[in-house]
Amino acid sequence: MRRPATKPDHPRGPVLWSSLEELSGDPAFEAWVDAEYPVAATFGPTARRTFLKLMGASFALAGLAGCEKSPFVAALPYVEQPQGTDVGIPKYYATAVTLDGYAQPVIATTYSGRPTKLDGNPDHPATQGRSDVFMQAAVLELYDPDRAQAPNRRGEPVTWSDVQHHIGLLRQQWTQSQGEGVALLLGHSTSPTLIRQIEALVREFPKAQIYEHAAVGGGRGLDSTRAAYGQPLQLRPQFENCDVVVSLDDDFLGAGPHQVANARAWSAARHRTADQPGLALYMAEAVPSTTGAMAEARVAVDASRTWLVAQGLANSCDVAGAAKPDLSAKEQRWLDRAVHACRSARGRALVTCSRFGDDATASWVARTNEALGATALLGAAAPVPNVANAKRLSDLVSDIGRGAVQTLIIIDANPAYTAPAWLAFRDAVAKVRSSVHVGIHRDETGALCEWHLPLTHTLESWSDARSIDGTATIIQPTIAPFYDVRTVHQVMALLLGQLDPLPAAPVRDTWRAALGNDFETKWTRCLHDGYVPEQRAAPPNIHAAATAVVPPPPDDGLDIVFRPDPTIWDGSFANNAWLQELPKPLTTLTWGNVISIGPALAMRKDLTNGDHVRIRVRDRSISGPVWVLPGQAPNTVALTLGYGRSKAGRVGDGLGYNAYHVQPIDQPWQTKGSLHKLGTRETLAVTQLHHRMEGFDFVREVNAADTDHPKHETTQPSLYPPKPSAQNAWGMVIDLDACIGCNACVAACTAENNVPVVGSEQVKVGREMQWLRIARYYTGDVEEPRSFFQPVPCMHCEQAPCEMGCPVHATTHSPEGVNQMVYNRCIGTRTCSSYCPYKVRRFNFFDYRPASDAPEHAAHNPDVTVRSRGVMEKCTYCTQRIEAAHVAADKENRPIRDGEVVTACQSACPTKAIVFGDIRNPDSEVSRLRGDGRHYVLLEEQGTRPRTTYLARWKPPEGQG
């Protein structure tokens, strides 16, 4: 039976909708949401006798299972216990993983020598302990069984001594030819050691050619600054010093190597109180992004019109030569607000544009910033040091074409997959006499090349890399390599003629020169701290180039934009199941990519979610399912890179479409094309309809007037007796004004709590297991909606309905207010889940554990039970961390300090939106926030008295939004 949601006449918050089907009142959708687990609604009826038989058998078997004797098992001590090792106590290493070649500084937690969890390094100047999804999921990649495990020649396994012998022969030829015909193709790397080794190689063989190809990042990302400033620059906008930010299609809070640093700085500046307005963000974008969702005022502008808005902005800011463009009324209204805000915050207002945008936009933005006196806020710096003067992939293909390349060595890049199809890279490789691929996977390129040399994962490597702000981190191994693999520096050393160098030696050699005297002390210091303190170069003097860039010629057809995938990135994370199953921000899609279109285009072409379309760009086309994204510009179609892989591994193969197939060489991020409906369709694994709550008012918005009086706790009367409270009463407050929906918390929770991956078929029927979901809501018109993100973990209700429901007391209440889930007592009736008004309980419909011999087991947190089939599970407030804090405090006979217990989601959050602590301690951060004027309780009318509560989002100031 369906209880109608009672909507009051004057809801306190905005009228929310989570999908187009809901907004249009589709009856099929209503039926879908009626079911607790939607798929259960489609099961056939069970005969009474069958039901009784099954129940009887289950009870008997459950009883018998209780008689199982605990077997005697082996115990293996060390032969010689390393000093400082205590079995059962984790060790922590400061190191880094990489994204796009940039270091993401981490503290790796290792148990008995195996890394299980990565957290941001709090001492690192760039990220200050914050993290993102890629950092959280890197540990699973380490244990990927599909990694290349030994060197390989034409598909046959070989040994490293074979490799050494072959390289020796090559070197003899190179010595004679000075490296003529040698081509080295690298992915984007910032490793000082790799750069040093490449330079040494070029010194030895001066005629060798170096090329660079990165699908998304790398040198290409600096092209727009070349157009705007006449020199390649790394722009790191200093959001912490801004009052107003106008972003032209710049998703600076979105996934990527910039995300953590930007989100941290933005949230610090954004912090708004009743008296202090905080940072105001104005966003004009073609494809809705997390940044757009956080904007004060947002307007949908087609990709090919962005430069016009930029010109309009320049015109309003009195930039010389900026004619007033022809803007629509909507665009003009947005522009007027943005300009007004910029004017009133002169010196603290900044305009940013996307590195995927066109040169015309970049050029106008540069000049506008100069007019606004905001150039210093751009944080311009010389590019993070990279392999100097590397040529591009297109140069390589043409060099191969004219027969100038005999030996091709590809290091840590996958051009056979990521090269735009027009380059015909595969055909080019066939013309090379000898090809070597060096990489962690034997991927598309590895399979194409004659030799494949497997690399270590970053967590097994001695290496180094620079983070986005240029700070170098020495990467130290957290585990010895468990396959027959080498670090990239060992492979480079082989090319340099050194036989079997130790993994650390090349890295130490680099830093011995850089650190100078007293090397060992400084080296140990750098390893411990996780970064190298270095003198920063003075910021370069920059001036916007005065010549206006000629805008791209107007063209009929739809704007096709290419964007890296928010969880799979350029495809390099395709075999990472944690990332595949993370719902992508805004679409909530898992296990695939979609062609996203705006509602207006969907109406015009009569398309609904899941319909197949063909996208044609010049003479090539791809087909895939569409997703109608509320708020997308009417003539823009967005394709995401990273899918359609054929040699990613068992997880990543055969999912989605390959957008590289239609990515033009000359217009890699934005081009023109057409869209045709195909008439077929598919069901997509989207999670936005799952775990829906009954009610209204889930997300609230407030303005300063609403927050005048601090809230004091009002509790509704309850029929149930009050629960006694212990010395600590745990609670969590989530600030919806800071949440950018990035999913770092979900990924961190997955890693910390051994949350299983269920796969696309199970996600489609609503069985995803993530303990917290980022619910995404819209308000307003489909063309220009406002978007909200709401992380929903277990509420840990003081009067928890689930506890009333359980027939076997498998879910109980702790004196500290934690709603406990006891797996070994659960018999799987799922009553608790149907009683839960917040829909935060997850059921193990199958045994989702990895196969017993799978290496993924090593990624499990040993302090958390790995659940089997038939039990319910849910957020525990990271009880293992609470208990560890209790033990630490009890051993010292003191109370737990505020901030001593940090949940996994809290520590991962790049914007510090999640605060956890003791609500009985009036001085704790969480108590302070519970007294804030913005504090509210989700579904307060249920009387469940949740311990997890929220801070409402700030309404945009009057006359805006």
């Binding site: 008689c67 004797k69 605990s70 005697f72 098992v73 082996a74 115990a75 293996l76 001590p77 060390y78 032969v79 010689e80 216990q81 205590d86 079995v87 059962g88 106590i89 006694p724 212990a726 010395q727 109980t812 209440h813 702790s814 004196p815 500290e816 934690v818 406990q820 006891v822 797996y823 070994n824 302090d863 958390v864 039970t865 525990t876 009880t879 293992q880 609470i882 208990e883 033990v887 009890d890 051993k891 006979n893």
Partner: protein, 218 residues
Amino acid sequence: MTQIFSPAADTWLRLSMVAGVAVLGGGLVGVIGFAHSAFETSTDVRPHQPVPFSHKHHAGELGIDCRYCHTGVETSPQAGLPPTATCMTCHSQIWTNAAMLEPVRKSLADNKPITWTRVAKLPDYVFFRHDIHIAKGVGCESCHGRIDTMPLTYRAKALTMEFCLDCHRDPAPHLRPKDHIADMTWQAGRDARKQGEAIAAHEGIRFGQLTHCYVCHR
């Protein structure tokens, strides 16, 4: 009308009701008894070990402190088994040629761990921590029994949930002064409760909070 039931039917009914209750009750007693039996809890089983290590000799007769070998017991969740190197501190000097110790020497020579059989084992869903128990005055002997009298080690206490909960519900009588933690022969004496309560107060034991599920299960 014919009689369906014979005159004895009532008696049979009464008898069968009594028998039914007896069978159910007896079954219950049987099941509970079985669950507590030495067979089911594997107490008194001396599993095969690669080296017939005698705690009686080492801990009892020689008086080596528990913590000499089980080094993690005060700092770590796991007490830890001694690495081969610990055995060899003495056995590189004495009994250097004993056939019994061949697996130990082989372990050191091959750098392969000795495959002991774990005697005191809890189910995987129980997260027991040695360090906090030692810190709060629970002695080794309280759970492991008189190890110093065991020529071959066996599980002296049943280590059932009931065994743990008895103490978690009412810890006081089971606590002992810190300097007797590893003392196998220590006896509480007649005022065990009073003495234990003093220790509990001093150690700040969180009475009433030690029985909730997440203390041991997570």
